[in-house]
């Protein structure tokens, strides 16, 4: 079977998967307790006819199957309805947060992949030496440290004691005048959360790259290369590294798939106005339309990223047969 047929088959499979996830996403929030309209009504002292119009606005006056059909249609047309809490369109709320999250997650993920991989390669090259031991131990430690705790410590040391970075938020309020000061201000706010996320995730790439390389280095063709008298560096970069990159693709695809989800814990510690804090606030306020929308976006991006990774695999490794 060729690549084209494979892509077609994967696409069909992924659409079915997405459909199932959509249904699950619908059912979870049907099953959740609490009537949000009742909550709004009691907190804002609404008259019965206003309650009715609210129900209409959220489409809660219709039977379950109609709501399900509406829900599916809305998801495919990216119409997510209105937030129960702020009564604003969900799309507006998400679009306000998405750039911040992409900035935070994008920076930290890219840094983690590049630096983590580099450290992993060096660690494999110097296996058993001090650098190897230290880099493996530190990546395990930063992986095991709870992100929110790391964030608290950073805030305490760099924000509170040393006063190098702001304590909370995405930008100063009011924002400084001029483009350059604004960029600098943003970067100052970005530094601590991005570092926290970077430290949390880079270890995965160190360990992954290191073990993949060491695994490849036991293969026959490496022995052959050694027998040919090639030096260690050429073997590592020309022969081993390319093949060791394969597991990295899956891992990186997964990380990119989660770009949109934001990081609930890190964003909460640093009061970063991203998708993570939006999600957590939505859970606290039982704001189901926002939760549904975010879950949907994450599902689509994860499925998409995995799909791309599957295809990329084929290009990078011609040994793989699609079947």
């Amino acid at each position: 079977m060729g690549l084209k047929a494979y892509i077609v088959r994967r696409t069909i499979y992924n659409v079915i998967l997405l459909f199932f996830v959509l249904t699950l996403n619908f059912l979870i929030f049907q099953w959740m307790p609490g009537d949000p309209v009742a909550i709004i009504a009691s907190s804002k002292r609404l008259r019965p006819e206003q309650v009715e119009s609210l129900k209409k606005l959220f489409g809660l006056d219709k039977p379950l199957y109609i709501r399900y059909i509406n829900y599916i249609r809305n998801m495919f047309t990216w119409q997510f309805g209105y937030s129960y809490y702020s009564l604003k369109p969900v799309r507006e709320e998400i679009m306000a947060r998405l750039p911040n999250t992409l900035l935070l997650m994008g920076t930290s993920t890219l840094l983690a992949i590049v630096i983590g991989t580099a450290i992993g390669v060096i660690a494999a090259y110097k296996r058993g030496k001090l650098f190897d031991v230290i880099s493996v131990t530190t990546s395990l430690l930063t992986y095991a440290l709870p992100t929110f705790w790391m964030g608290m410590i950073f805030l305490l040391v760099f924000g509170y004691y040393l006063r190098l970075f702001p304590l909370a938020g995405t930008m100063s309020r009011p924002p400084p005048e001029g483009l350059l000061p604004q960029v600098v201000d943003m970067l100052r706010h970005l530094f601590l959360p991005a570092t926290t996320l970077f430290l949390f995730s880079y270890g995965t790439y160190v360990l992954l790259m290191r073990s993949a390389l060491l695994e490849v280095l036991t293969e026959d063709y490496i022995v052959t290369a050694k027998a040919k008298g090639l030096d260690e560096r050429t073997i590592l970069f020309k022969h081993a590294l390319r093949n060791a990159l394969l597991p990295l693709i899956t891992e990186a695809a997964m990380a990119f798939g989660l770009l949109f989800s934001g990081a609930i814990l890190t964003e909460t510690v640093f009061s970063w106005e991203g998708m993570g804090t939006l999600l957590w606030n939505a859970i606290e306020f039982q704001d189901y339309p926002i939760l549904q929308a975010i879950f949907y976006i994450i599902a689509v991006s994860v499925i998409g990223a995995n799909f791309i990774a599957d295809i990329l695999y084929g290009f990078v490794d011609p040994r793989i047969k699609y079947d």
Partner: protein, 503 residues
């Protein structure tokens, strides 16, 4: 039996082999540096968890106000510039008078008539701590004045330069005097300058117990009103403004004492408690709960949630992976699609939503964390089973008529057991961190104190600068997680020797 030895029962042989194997494994394990480090850390935290009740008398959640709120660690007193920290102080050692009282004085004004203070063993304030009280006996004589004042007090030295965080006081009085004797009581405190503060006034009624109402507590606004103090002032710091000798006591004004009649007043639950601004190894939280106890008991929760969730998720993963891989067909398809579905949904948000719905009891946390953690492992097991079931020994088992269940349990399971041990050790850390994250966000079981909840409280009460409160729980989460990662790696290296060079 030609050699004269009885054949051993096969069960015994098996046991002996198992013993030899595990001894062998243990010997190799102890040679592995990572494994030993992991085990040492783990044993430390297991000991902490098991010995918690012996290391601290306080309950981590319910023992409130063992000292002032947000007290600093006790050893801070010995640091430069922090001598002003005060410790808990109770001038009356045995306030419920179980034994004969010490240091309590009695004084009458005017003097000159018989007065006696003795220990009563059988009478006691019924809502206090059982029998045992002080009995005050005053007999009237010819020249007894119309009004007699009797003071029962204790003089004590307050050795700290800084004031206490809070004080509470109480006295329970029982009047058993003849008719037409009227007794009023006044609870007072005299500071180091000789200034007297009236904390509470009581009138005694014949045949009943009287206690100060409202209770004497420096936190209560009523006390400030009584002391004519502004709302912004704290009675504890106004009264205990410096070190020196203080007096705490109760003054009885007795009217109508005549010749031949004897006034009997029982005194019980006679205490003054000063809550220190430093306490214990790690200080206290916003409710005056001992942080060291919270830290000790937190180890229990992390270990419990980590281990049980890991066992649960590995068990589910094993079952799904074995069935899916071995049975194949429609079952495989269904199980794997379900797995994919759960893998696509983000774990932490899903965990948060489900915990918010089901409630954050400790068993729900264990169940949910376990339930959302098996997917990756199930896939690994499935792919392993797919290759195992083509092997000759499975064919052979089939040929002699073994059923599916037997083949899975007796022939396939032992071959994936090493993977299961590794997965078990490696899913504990993620369960520990998940629990901590949920608790930190506020989804904790109100009846238990975990390290994550400690960190939640830090954030909630704006105590992030109290580093002695922030560091121990966070570091412990990391160390305990790391110990399991190390153990997992060590098991992996020993059981899958082909990969020995990898890590």
């Amino acid at each position: 039996m030609s050699n004269g030895r009885k054949l051993e029962h096969p069960y015994k042989v098996k046991l002996r082999m198992l013993w030899r194997k595990s001894k062998d494994f243990g010997r190799h394990f102890l040679r592995n540096r990572k494994g030993v480090t992991g085990v040492v850390i783990l044993v430390f935290y297991i000991l902490v968890a098991l010995l918690a009740p012996y290391l601290t008398p306080y309950d981590p959640v319910y023992s409130k106000y063992v000292a002032g709120p947000r007290a600093k660690p006790l050893w801070f007193r010995y640091l430069p510039g922090l001598h002003h920290l005060s410790m808990n102080l109770e001038p009356i050692e045995d306030p419920s008078f179980k034994a004969k009282p010490k240091g309590i004085k009695v004084e009458a004004q005017p003097q000159g008539f018989p007065i006696e203070l003795r220990h009563s063993e059988d009478v006691g304030y019924p809502r206090g701590s059982g029998p045992g009280s002080l009995l005050l006996l005053i007999s009237g004589s010819e020249n007894t004045p119309n009004e007699v004042k009797v003071r029962i007090y204790v003089r004590f030295h307050y050795p700290y330069n800084g004031s206490p965080a809070r004080f509470t006081a109480r006295v329970a009085l029982f009047d058993e005097s003849p008719n037409r004797v009227y007794i009023k009581a006044r609870v007072f405190l005299e500071d180091a300058y000789g200034k007297e503060y009236t904390l509470s006034l009581l009138s005694l009624r014949n045949g009943s117990w009287a206690i100060p109402q409202p209770p004497i507590d420096s936190y209560q606004a009523a006390l400030r009103v009584k002391l004519f103090m502004s709302v912004l002032k704290d009675p504890a710091s106004v009264i205990f403004s410096r070190s020196g000798d203080y007096t705490y006591g109760v003054e009885l004004s007795i009217k109508g004492l005549r010749k031949g009649s004897t006034v009997k007043v029982y005194v019980d639950d006679f205490y003054l408690r000063l809550y220190g601004t430093c306490f214990g190894l790690l200080g206290t939280d916003a409710y005056g709960r001992d942080l060291f106890s919270q830290f000790l008991y937190g180890a229990r929760i992390s270990l419990l949630v980590g281990l049980l969730s890991a066992i649960f998720s590995v068990a589910v993963g094993l079952v799904v992976g074995l069935i899916s891989g071995y049975v194949g067909g429609l079952v495989d398809e269904l199980l794997m699609r379900f797995t994919d579905m759960l893998l696509v949904l983000p774990t932490l948000p899903l965990l948060l939503v489900l915990t918010a719905v089901l409630g954050a009891s400790i068993w729900n946390l264990i169940f949910l964390i376990g339930f959302l953690g098996w997917m990756g492992f199930a896939r690994v097991i499935r792919s392993q089973v797919l290759s195992l079931k083509e092997r000759a020994f499975v064919e052979a088992a089939k040929a002699i008529g073994a059923g599916t269940a037997i083949i899975i349990v007796r022939h396939i399971l032992p071959n994936v057991a090493s993977l299961a041990y590794v997965a078990l050790a490696l899913s504990v850390p993620s369960a520990i961190v998940s629990e901590a994250a949920l608790s930190w966000l506020g989804l904790y079981d109100p009846n238990v104190m975990s390290w994550g909840r400690m960190l939640h409280d830090v954030q909630y009460y704006g105590a992030i600068t109290d580093w002695w409160w922030v560091i121990p729980p966070g570091l412990s989460i990391a160390l305990l997680s790391m110990s399991f990662i190390f153990i997992g790696y060590a098991i992996d290296e020993l059981l899958n020797p082909r990969l020995r060079a990898r890590r």
